[in-house]
Symmetry: none
Subunit: 161 residues, 2 copies
DNA sequence: ATATTTCGTTTGCTAAACTAATTATCTTTT
DNA sequence: AAAAGATAATTAGTTTAGCAAACGAAATAT
């Protein structure tokens, strides 16, 4: 692999790591981990959602949703309600406490990074965004998902699925 | 928050999520998690490194290095050797099996992001890396506290601590 | 010689995420 | 209507990353 490509990957990982470290701070401040925060934010967005919908939207499994839900429920931030038409479903929504917490913990990652970002000169903001979008397109999860497995399957003996 | 800042955050999220999804695929296909793979790659790069150097380079704690090391050692990919001049140090290097695995495994990263990235014109590669590093520094700034913030520029009213 | 620092390891914890199996409920098919 | 199948959420159990704190061993400073 090109040295530059490798370097790019390294920096990407640094960003990941920085974000994680960042998350820890947010967690300390808000009492919510980033996944939990995201869940709360989405619920604030959509008002109400079933567990499965959240799973899809967050890109994680239902089991993980359940476990996040436990935590948020025990903190009193989310309420659950059995579905009317379909009693298997569990509808989730923010409690008042949830909304309050969200209002106080405004946007976690967004605030600080956003503030710093906003203070950059306009041309640099544009440039960074363009770069990030480029990287995102290079990473593009869907594309990878479909084709990568097939490509790689030829490597060794084992076949996923 | 600025629309641009918000947008930047959104794209950043996309990148994070894409990367995570990506990691899962790489892990499935190579048998190495992304952290493990990175460790192997670095060792391939530098030939030999002490545990502490790896920790610094990877941006994780020594304790975590040790635990990754255990896994890679048990897979026979990495060998350890006590330092000659300083016997506290542990020098790590790839075994033949490690090199072999890496030679087969990198398809995961190469075929997609790496290949795509490598195919970009050189100036764009440099630009993207610079942008990523900038973003990393923005994310990191909060962590590293006031001193780093100054390096980045006059940012705004807020003072950590 | 003694104290301090440094390097790596161990221990013990948190949190996310997965899979597989289970329960409860809906939907089809017979 | 009863049996079979599909779907929603949960539970159980596992893996992995990561950290901090305590610790032993070795190097360095006093």
């Amino acid at each position: 692999m090109d040295p530059k490509a490798r370097h790019a990957v390294t920096v990407l990982r640094q960003i990941l790591r920085a974000t994680e470290a960042y998350d820890r701070i947010v967690t300390r401040d808000t009492g919510l981990t980033s996944s939990q925060l995201l869940m709360v934010q989405i619920l604030d967005d959509v008002g109400e959602a079933s567990a499965g919908m959240l799973a899809t939207r967050m890109g994680i499994s239902q089991a993980t949703i359940t476990s996040l839900l436990h935590k948020l429920e025990s903190k009193g931030l989310i309420a659950r309600k059995r579905g009317d038409t379909d009693r298997r479903q569990v509808w989730l929504s923010l409690t008042d406490a949830g909304r309050t917490t969200l209002a106080q913990a405004p946007e976690g990652l967004q605030t600080k990074f956003g503030t710093r970002f906003s203070s950059l000169p306009d041309w640099e903001q544009s440039m960074l965004i363009a770069g990030l979008e480029r990287v995102a397109s290079l990473l593009d999860a869907e594309n990878i998902d479909a084709s990568a497995v097939l490509t790689i399957g030829e490597l060794g003996g084992e076949q996923p699925g």
